[in-house]
């Protein structure tokens, strides 16, 4: 009997396939394609305390096997989300992960506290500039990750996921900071910082100059980071970054991910999460594995650093 369920830091998912924040709206859109209850969980579009209009278009550029996005956290704000979007998702039985972004630790804490009775887990997007620290991203300093994680953890009784930024020298240092501060789970990777020039108009293509790179192009980097983080922390990891097929998913689980999440692939293949899920199940059947955890490889005696 194959058991597809996984635990991500106290939250039991019926299968390891999630969908990533910002690539799945608030779930409505993809509910036209399949039953959302088939998913392991849904991380909704990133929420901020106040509504945000987001960045000026253009907001997307295609790169080689990837995309750059500059949405700028357009969202209806914490209360807009709770009133207008959450009720729809609540009609399903699928676990809801609220992805939150703040400019200060206080903002993160308020949002987490307000949300924690309505959702199944909180995901901290720490790729945001810390206004009090002169705009340096929370996710690039272990001390800041520690502080924000610790502050939020104290306020909530549901699992806390910290979503790490890949734009750092040493991902395991960041993973350890989150774990040390009480995170129940980490997710990685968020987008990589990239850029594109508008040659014709002799200026950066995006108004905001830099933008977030995602998609198959970043997969080798994401996989390496999951491997490195899994080497160091004991809390579960949600792996993501370019996952498009079940083979990609298996690579991440082998590397140590407890669950995986589909982001950009939703755009070119709306059925990607379902196909990945079926693929994992077939792989397990074919390989005679009964639990997702059995997919993880044994790192053995080799020092893999």
């Amino acid at each position: 009997m194959i058991d597809m369920s996984v635990d991500i830091g106290g939250l039991r998912l019926k299968n390891p396939v999630l969908v990533s924040s910002g690539t799945f709206g608030f779930g409505r859109e993809y509910s036209n394609f399949y039953d959302l209850n088939s998913l392991g969980g849904i991380a909704v579009k990133g929420i901020t305390l106040k509504p945000r209009k987001g960045n000026k278009p253009p907001r997307i550029a295609e790169t080689a096997a990837g995309i750059l996005n500059s949405v700028g956290l357009e969202n209806p704000g914490l209360y807009g989300f709770m009133e207008k979007e959450l009720p729809f998702l609540k009609r399903y039985k699928v676990p809801i992960i609220a992805n939150i972004s703040g400019n200060t630790i206080e903002e993160y804490s308020i949002m987490a506290q307000e949300l924690c009775n309505s959702v199944d887990a909180i995901e901290l997007n720490v790729s945001c500039p810390n206004v009090k620290e002169g705009g340096i991203a929370f996710g690039t300093k272990p001390e800041l990750i520690y502080q924000v994680t610790n502050a939020v953890k104290k306020r909530i009784g549901i699992p806390l996921i910290v979503k790490l930024s890949p734009n750092v020298t040493d991902i395991s240092e960041m993973a350890l900071a989150a774990e040390g501060a009480g995170a129940d789970c980490i997710s990685l990777i968020n987008t990589m910082i990239g850029m594109k020039m508008d040659i014709e108009n002799r200026k950066p293509y995006f108004d905001n100059v830099v933008a977030g790179l995602s998609g198959p192009a970043v997969k080798p980097i994401a996989l390496r980071m999951v491997w490195q983080a899994a080497e160091k922390v004991n809390i579960p990891i949600i792996g993501m970054g370019g996952i498009s097929t079940w083979r990609d998913a298996i690579e991440f689980i082998m590397a140590g991910a407890a669950a995986i999440s589909i982001g950009t692939a939703n755009f070119y293949n709306p059925y990607a999460p379902i196909e990945v899920l079926d693929g994992i199940r077939n792989y397990m059947e074919y390989s005679g594995l009964n639990k997702i955890e059995e997919i993880k490889i044994n790192r053995g005696v080799k020092n893999y650093e």
């Binding site: 910002g22 690539t23 799945f24 709206g25 409505r28 859109e29 993809y30 036209n32 394609f33 579009k45 509504p51 209009k53 987001g54 960045n55 000026k56 278009p57 253009p58 907001r59 997307i60 550029a61 295609e62 080689a64 096997a65 990837g66 995309i67 996005n69 949405v71 357009e74 108009n201 998609g215 198959p216 192009a217 498009s244 950009t264 939703n266 755009f267 070119y268 709306p270 059925y271």
Partner: protein
Amino acid sequence: MEREICSIVSNDRVAKDIYKLVINSKSIIKEASAGQFLHIKPSLNYDPLLRRPISICKADSVKGHIMLLYRVCGKGTRLFGGLGQGDCLDIIGPLGKGFPILKDKKAAVIGGGIGIAPLLELCQNLNSPDIYMGFRDEVYFVDEFIKHSGAFFLYTEDGSRGSKGYPIEALARNISSYEVVYACGPKMMLSKVKELCEANSVECYLSMEERMGCGVGACLVCACESSEENYYKKVCVDGPVFNSREVKFDDRYER
């Protein structure tokens, strides 16, 4: 909204870089209406990665054929150009809000270049609207339109066919005779049509373009400046067809 693997009936070049593609469809065609679009995968590999939005040009539900008209201008459309009969395309659709069909109103339809694509199905559904069309130089597909038109005004930038200039010039002269105007084409043209119609209190629908990710409303990248200050519209689900009063053209489009 469906995903369908559609086989190709024909894919013919109709002018320089312009192709007419006819595909078989069983499910998408059932809901297809004028102004909506299909989101088509150009490659089975990861480069190009994203689907490409292409308007429904004509939908023949009897034969189960959807006709598309497209211009080869980059990686994705170049791959479309290389396809032939029997090849298959992975398509999501029909997507977006199409044109409201206001049969009882005296209508003008104005299109520029490849922007004529979504207008054919529209003209077929209206009662012989007057049609205004502009091209840079080579003219294509006008015969298809003339069949469904009242008056027909043809312009080319170089004057090689029809009148020299832009179709907006003729529309501006006749604007008082219309109750509704439908437009698709370059942003520059749309912005002028909007201005003209609003100045003359004529109802106006514009089909907008913006780069897309998902095509279904989930990613928020297809933002288009709305007349309401504090939020953007999504071209893929709020549009691509908008009442001109819903949208705004910023300076970026005036370049």
